[in-house]
Homo-oligomer: 389 residues x 2
């Protein structure tokens, strides 16, 4: 009840804030424009010389224009927060918010682009055509499975970094949280049985990153139960999941998959995890209930059912697993080093460096807050052309 | 020689300025993000409420998002300044500059979009798809005749104002300059013979606006001479020009067209107007030599040949005819009043109100400087759903 009252209060404040300011972003001019001379230098005729330089060497756009520090936050409005397919225009407040976070945490100039199309081919074409201005592309809240194809195509066809944050930002922070959780419990990743509930953008990326990291007993469930190789009518991304997970081809539902599991990672829907399911897991399991705004199980219920470490996506409980720990640093590093792509290796390293910010993790402190110093620097340091741990 | 040295100096300063700042624009966050509570209000979970409001009533995007005050400055890089078809990326410094002027003069948040395509259909499709975020579209430096079709299509298919500034911004300022020039010379527009050299974006829009204003003896020339109805292989926009101009079907070249003309308006190339052509015009003619950076004739030469009023596109001579007198106010008015389109009537009114800022025009002062107070307000006041003079 207190939570509901609090939510109503936050909603009211949010509406007021957005109305007062007319959104959250402003575009400002950072050079002087006081008089004719300033105009001549910043605009015509002086600017023509700058254009000629770039026309003769395209790489100079990063020297002379906002491309140096600018990221596009692009959505088609098809999978926005917990709201679903609300379309381009209604997604704008979220995209503006994301851009605001880019500025606040990594001093990146980010601009929201909401696409009035949900056709993969049109989305790819449109983003390629508007790409010249940007130093990086952050795809946001695009529904699975379309998001996989769009990201793959853009990575192949553009020479700037492209990252679907719902996939990879989430995966980096989950891996960091898992690294520190195992440290708390003094466990080895080899022995872990991990169940991921949700096979959308986030679930798929989390499973892929964990598998590549050597977590070798993962079961991914969707609304039809466990994903396994022989399951019929598997979409392409689930066929890939079946290859890298569920080595014993478990074919049952979530409840059965969780039997003796050490870790539950929910990127699905509220209240799907029951206390009795937790009781069926191994002793004192790790529960990451990341559905937003309402988690797969309330953290207090999870604790009561025996969980040793509980994380959610919420800021009002301990251990918030939030993409904002990752994406500002990932793009800060990408812009600063000029890498053309963000690789799986870079993301793995970013997770380790993010985890290492907490030297002595405790059950209620497995991750830093985004406001802690060093978060962006730790993550960005992993985005290098050649890096060592 | 002094001018050349001065240009070299401005070029050098311009390169340094752009390099130092990494372009001219920055995207900033205008709401507080100091702590968890601020994040909850500006971003999740509070922002979801704002999304729902817009999903239920799209018009609320102008209440709650940056759409309220944001304009896209969009080019395909095909006709940039005097540089021509330098492509999307090399056009970016100009587009950033334009956005900076929007901010400086009208407090509009403008963002540059440089399109990596020069296909009309693709340009229209792309702009339609990225339109949701913007409150208006300023098309910029798109070559004729493509610019006409693109602007027409977008005006039909979008519900936000679309304006190709090279056309209409120029036309508004030229009309204002002409109104005050006639005031200086105590002449009536009915009797004027006007020759426009250049039938691209600017020339076409200037001719169209002047014709609709009752200037009934206009001859438009292109590189092949006068445009007249019977001329073969006329492009569609030149067929339209032939209908509204050249009533006596003059068929010769620029020099002949200028005989006894009262006004020359050049939107063409440097040094094409000779002193002897001016001497062939009527007594003490009006010369607007607007080619940039080098005008159709040097102002001192024009004066020496008998011109009474000379204007150029340059800030280092008297009477600068510069779009920056128009576009900030036009879009300020459009955003504030929520008009869906900017009509010819609004543009006419804007020119009259811009001209009226100078109550006593003199031969060397027919227009205000963009830095003078009242310019934006005068122009924006003309952009109303229903206006009276």
């Amino acid at each position: 009840m207190a939570v509901q009252k609090n939510m109503a209060d936050i909603n009211r404040q949010s509406l007021l804030l957005h109305k007062k300011h007319g959104g959250k972003l402003s575009v400002v001019c950072k050079v002087p424009l006081r008089n004719k001379h300033d105009l001549a230098v910043a605009y015509t005729p002086g600017v023509a010389r700058v254009c000629e330089e770039i026309a003769s060497d395209k790489s100079l756009a990063k020297t002379y224009t906002l491309k140096r520090n600018t990221v596009a936050v692009i959505t088609d409005g098809s999978a926005v927060l917990g709201l679903g397919n609300i379309g381009a225009l209604a997604a704008l407040p979220v995209m503006e918010g994301k851009c605001a976070l880019f500025k606040r945490f990594a001093d990146i100039d980010a601009f929201p682009i909401c696409l009035d199309t949900q056709d993969s081919e049109e989305i790819v074409d449109t983003i390629k055509r508007i790409a010249p201005v940007f130093g990086g592309i952050n795809l946001e809240d695009i529904a699975a499975p379309r998001c996989f194809e769009i990201e793959r195509r853009l990575r192949e066809e553009l020479d700037i970094p492209v990252l679907h944050d719902d996939q990879h930002g989430t995966a980096v922070v989950v891996l960091a949280a898992l690294i520190n959780s195992l440290k708390v419990k003094k466990l080895s990743k080899k022995r872990m049985k991990i169940v991921i509930n949700g096979a959308g953008a986030a679930g798929t990326a989390v499973a892929t990153l964990l598998a590549s990291e050597g977590y070798n007993t993962i079961i991914v469930c969707d609304s039809r139960g466990a994903i396994y190789k022989e399951r019929k009518k598997l979409e392409p991304h689930k066929q890939l999941l079946a290859k890298i997970s569920n080595p014993r081809s478990y074919t049952g539902d979530l409840s059965g998959a969780l039997r003796d599991a050490d870790v539950f990672i929910g990127v699905s829907v509220k209240n799907i995890l029951s206390p009795s399911m937790i009781k069926g897991m191994s002793d004192k399991p790790i529960i990451f209930a990341l559905a937003n705004p309402e988690p797969e199980i309330h953290p207090l219920l999870a604790k009561k059912a025996g969980a040793s470490i509980v994380a959610t996506g919420r800021s009002d409980f301990p251990n918030q697993i939030n993409n904002v720990l990752a994406f500002p640093g990932i793009f800060r590093g990408a812009l600063d080093t000029g890498v053309h792509a963000i690789t799986a290796t870079m993301l793995q390293k970013a997770a380790y460096r993010l985890a290492a910010i907490i030297p002595d993790p405790r059950p209620t402190k497995i991750l830093p807050s985004p406001f802690e110093k060093g978060v962006v620097r730790a993550v960005s340091s992993a985005i290098q052309k050649k890096i060592s741990l």
